[in-house]
Amino acid sequence: MSDITALQALVLVLVAAGGTAVVLERDPLHQSMVAGGFGILLAVLFLVFNAPDVALSEIVVGAVILPSLVLVALTRTGKGKT
């Protein structure tokens, strides 16, 4: 393999920013959406690092299933009302 490409470096920076955004968002309802976006970023990261298999899983698990589970948990605890 070769050295890191500009695209890979850019996506790494975006993932770092996305992870920070998930932590900085304090409202759990909004946080579930930000976490979904972070999941998409992670999928792009896996794709540009030649791991399309993992990227496919990450799209659905990180961007669809994880946020929905958080949303359900918020509904159950009654904290999802705004």
């Binding site: 298999d53 899983s57 659905v60 669809v64 299933i65 359900v72």
Partner: protein, 250 residues
Amino acid sequence: MRHRARLALFSAGALALAVLLGWGVLGLPRFGHTHDTVGDVITAAVTGERHVSETVGAITFDYRGIDTMGEELILFVAVAAVAIVLRDEHEEPLDEGAGRTSLQTSETIRFIGLALLPCVVLLGLYIVSHGHVSPGGGFQGGVILASGALLLFLAGDFRTFHRTVSEPVGDPAEAVGMGGYLVIGLAGLAFGAAFLDNVLPFGSSGDIASGGVIPLLNLTVGLEVGAGIVLITIEYLETIVRVRQREVVP
């Protein structure tokens, strides 16, 4: 005082973590290089040995197929646990029309959902059935199929969703997926080879009928994962509908 103590504890922990992390990162191989050679060996050998063009699929369903069986069992048990915990309060039947009144969807969402549904299902089936040819496989395709079921929920209502992909369909599908994997593993024993040995003809590389048992194992995993995620979703959504129902009609 407690605040200062906590800050001191955090600082010590953060410092130790930073030192350990820095130490570990310094010991990593250079970017794009690895210490081990197993990956190179398998990548070079897989097409000749298994007639498979997707190395990842050959590793997960052939060279270490028993690991994948363990992972599948973990998901199977997790789905069973969710069903056990959440289903016990579902004794009384759902109110008719509860899904429609408590979870409103706009026409736009219904239209986009119904338009996307066949595309997502087709993509899921493609990813499952080509797991030994191109990136993807049972797990990836299974979760895509499950997200298609989620679209059905968004586009329709909970009762349609519940009727169409409900537990009477989901439970057997999940069990058949899990059991099918074990049966294919036992087929290896029946042919006089080891458990999960690849006993079928390998075909020619790049064909959809290649790789021996790998595509069959992909199908069983796709069934198990798809049904499992749908079952978890149904259990959680039923919980939401019940919570909302209780709020509307106390």
